[in-house]
């Protein structure tokens, strides 16, 4: 018989427990530290070997910042809204992180072996929260380099190294503070049971992102008065974070020290409040997030993005719910379009993301048409966003590509499925991109590019279908040979991931650039014909891939 003590005898033994765990894991901890040091060494070596030219270019750009170009005033005009969008995207990323992991996490064994003991939760969880806050602030500082680099490249980095460093420094500081604020908010979200309040916050953030993006696009297209920018800069922490970099790049933010100070106060308050809230994170949430981290890490180690997505859905329960039904068709030709349509209406968030991406693509396309001499970047972004929208809409094809047995009962040959799966994404994109593009063209008079818009849609869908039928990541892809640029398997795996977007976006970028930079109507029709051929070719590639999947 085991003589365990009675529950009422229990004394707080948190210190002994955590001390024992540390002592037991000392040797493995040393091993992990040496492993980490090795990986850091490898990362440093890789950066030095392959990124040396990039570092040199950055140093050159900092010492001699690029001078203002013709577009610089326009960039400065859009900067308040653009920086606000970037800032709120950083906050949104942290809220998304809180949905599946959050700043308060424990390892799966700790969740399973220590959470249902009387160990003091504060002493167990607060150190982990503090570590998350430090990591978030450091990551935020690194993320701050992105807007700084964009402003620098646009000729807004001043005239000397001192100016450029001041711009980079304020951007890094603002982003670090914003990340600290986000960590506190994420801890608050984690400490609450999954309820309507959290969903409401997420919805509010989504609306805010959409509104700010719309303002950014409108600022560029319609030249909103400067007062609109001022309102944005004082509309919340995202605006306070934008003020420092804006002021350093010559924009109008005269009270930027006050804005940055307000952001600092908010960040410190949020981090401190998060520390108190960390104790209140329910054990059920900690267990779920521990499981999530375990599953996601395993999926990431396999270098398989789809498994990462599946693991994410498993832990968040982010599967579509059957909210509405589409009546099944009587004609067999409509079965796959019906299935794809049903899948879309039952996952409204996927449809909403695709719509958002499609709108962003249209807006960026309009921007490129307005400023044709510097259209390559905006066109690339527009086509990538359009491709991502198409990929979201081609979810049915992806499922069939991942599991060919799923389509065994369909009255079609497997290799013809890509063509059937193209119907719904093409129609949806025609609505989501074609509609706004037609309206914009009617408003601005650029109707000559509409045939090209129409031809681009099947190309983007074709690229998405090529990727949908790529199959599973095979072990043999890790085999290969050494090259001066590293092992060939890295290139093989990269190509395996990006074949679809590369084949769709690359040629379309050339065609669009040519069309945008031509004032005559003929090239638009000519490139539209070329694009139609490209779409057909991509469909054939997807068909070939489907055939190989079936025979495998």
């Amino acid at each position: 018989m085991i003589a365990a003590q009675a529950p009422s005898d229990i004394t707080d033994s948190t210190q002994e427990t955590l001390g024992l765990l540390r002592a037991l894991r000392r040797r493995p901890a040393r091993q992990r530290a040496s492993n980490l040091a090795f990986w850091l060494y490898l990362a440093g070596l890789a950066i030095f070997s392959y990124g040396g030219w990039l570092v040199a270019a950055i140093v050159r750009a900092l010492r001699h910042p690029p001078p203002p170009a013709a577009d610089t005033p326009e960039v400065l005009h859009v900067a308040p809204a653009g920086l606000c969008v970037l800032a709120i995207l950083l906050l949104a990323a942290q809220l998304w992180d809180a949905r599946w992991r959050g700043p308060v996490t424990v390892t799966p064994p700790t969740a399973d072996w220590l959470l249902d003991t009387p160990v003091d939760r504060g002493r167990l969880l607060r150190p982990r929260y503090r570590a998350s806050a430090v990591i978030a602030a450091a990551s935020g500082a690194v993320a701050g380099l992105v807007p700084a680099a964009l402003l620098l490249a646009a000729g807004l980095g001043g005239t000397s190294l001192r100016h450029a460093l001041a711009l980079a420094g304020t951007a890094m500081l603002s982003a670090a503070l914003l990340a600290g604020l986000g960590t506190g908010i994420a801890a608050w979200a984690q400490a609450r049971p999954p309820a309507a309040s959290l969903r409401a916050v997420r919805s509010a953030v989504a609306v805010l992102i959409a509104a700010l993006t719309a303002v950014a696009v409108l600022s560029a297209a319609l030249r909103l008065p400067p007062a609109a920018g001022t309102v944005l800069l004082w509309s919340g922490p995202w605006g306070w974070a934008a003020q420092g970099p804006l002021a350093m790049s010559g924009g109008s933010a005269p009270l930027w020290p006050a804005g940055t100070a307000m952001l600092a106060v908010a960040a410190v308050a949020a981090v401190l409040a998060g520390g108190h809230l960390a104790v209140r994170v329910p054990a059920a949430t900690l267990r779920r997030s521990a499981r999530a981290v375990g599953h996601m890490s395993a999926a990431m180690l396999n270098l398989d993005a789809r498994r990462v997505t599946t693991a994410y859905r498993d832990v968040t329960g982010a599967y579509g719910r059957a909210r509405c039904a589409v009546r099944p068709p009587l004609r067999r030709q409509l079965i796959l379009p019906w299935r794809d349509l049903t899948a879309l209406v039952r996952a409204p968030s996927r449809l909403a993301w695709s719509a958002l991406l499609a709108l962003a693509a249209t807006g960026l396309g309009a921007l490129a048409v307005r400023s044709p001499h510097a259209a390559v970047l905006t066109l690339t972004a527009a086509l990538v966003f359009g491709y991502l929208a198409a990929a979201g809409l081609a979810e049915g094809a992806r499922l069939d590509g991942d599991d060919p047995a799923r389509a065994a009962q369909l009255p079609f040959r497997f290799q013809t499925l890509p063509w059937w799966h193209a119907v719904v994404p093409c129609l949806a994109l025609a609505l989501l991109i074609g509609g706004p593009a037609t309206a914009l063209a009617a408003l601005t008079g650029h109707t000559r590019l509409l045939p090209l818009v129409a031809a681009t849609i099947p190309v983007l869908v074709g690229g998405a279908l090529v990727n949908s039928f790529r199959g599973q990541l095979e072990g043999e892809m890790f085999e290969g040979f050494d090259t001066p640029l590293g092992h060939s398997s890295g290139i093989t795996i990269l190509l395996w991931y990006v074949t679809g977007p590369l084949l769709a976006v690359g040629p379309m970028l050339i065609l669009w650039d040519r069309a945008v930079n031509s004032s005559k109507a003929a090239p638009a029709i000519f490139v539209a014909v070329l694009a139609a051929g490209l779409a057909f070719w991509l469909g054939h590639i997807a068909q070939g891939r489907a055939r190989r999947l079936r025979s495998a």
């Binding site: 018989m1 085991i2 003589a3 365990a4 003590q5 009675a6 529950p7 005898d9 229990i10 004394t11 707080d12 033994s13 002994e16 427990t17 024992l20 765990l21 037991l24 894991r25 040797r27 493995p28 799966p108 064994p109 969740a111 399973d112 072996w113 220590l114 249902d116 003991t117 009387p118 160990v119 939760r121 049971p193 329910p282 054990a283 059920a284 521990a290 499981r291 375990g294 719910r321 059957a322």
Partner: protein, 230 residues
């Protein structure tokens, strides 16, 4: 339980739905100190859902759960010190031995100087003494199940909740499990278990509840209820 005596655990009309699916229809259940209740039913009948609610690890869609007359919360200290749950552990520290895992639990529950002795006793009771220095990854599935039971034995407990503890145990180990649960009852520990083995339920339970599609289709003393079902 005599009239006026407070039950240890009381579930009052608890139900659980996941979207449109009702996994558990309203069920009421009380457990007195030293009582053993066994839940029986096919896969998906709602046994594990009911256990998770009884342990405070899931919130019922309707109804309430009280422990010693107070609403049960998993994070409350009383739940962490008095309710032992087995069958929920899926991961282990890859670098700690079986003995070290158990030692950690014993120390966390305030065993202090007596922790090593308690752990040795639990290892012996669960026939794991020969594997004390093994890493969990080297154990068979049955031994891992025994390790989970040992983790329950090294900690104080007033209510023991077990989800299919007989899983992966051979017939001899199942007999040992039945003996162990009877001894727990004799010590005054209340036991709530879900099982697929009617024999185990008959051997240890004072009452069985049979579930089907989330609904109670039979309850009462084991011999009577199981005889009726058969």
């Amino acid at each position: 339980m005599t009239a006026g005596e407070q039950p240890l655990l009381a579930l009052t009309a608890v139900s659980r739905s996941y979207g449109a699916l009702q996994a558990l229809k309203p069920v009421s259940l009380t457990l007195a100190a030293g009582q053993c209740v066994a839940l029986l039913g096919v896969n998906g009948s709602g046994k594990s859902t009911l256990l998770r609610i009884a342990a405070g690890r899931d919130t019922p869609t309707s109804g309430r759960v009280s422990y010693l007359g107070r609403p049960l919360r998993e994070d409350a200290l009383v739940a962490r010190t008095e309710i032992a749950v087995a069958g929920d552990v899926s991961s282990t520290y890859p670098d700690l031995t079986v003995q070290e895992h158990l030692l950690l639990v014993a120390v966390a529950h305030g065993a202090g100087q007596s922790a090593p002795g308690t752990v040795d006793d639990a290892l012996a009771e669960c026939r794991l003494s020969d594997h004390a220095a093994a890493l969990p990854g080297a154990l068979s599935s049955g031994q891992r199940q025994a390790m989970q039971l040992a983790a329950v034995l090294v900690r104080p407990r007033r209510l023991l909740i077990l989800d299919e503890p007989e899983q992966r145990l051979d017939p001899g180990a199942r007999r040992w499990l039945a003996g162990l649960l009877v001894r727990e009852k004799d010590r005054g520990v209340t036991v709530l278990l879900a099982t697929h083995h009617a024999e185990l339920a008959e051997a240890v339970a004072d009452k069985v509840i049979v579930l089907l599609d989330g609904d109670v289709i039979g309850h009462g003393p084991p011999a009577e209820t199981l005889g009726g079902i058969r």
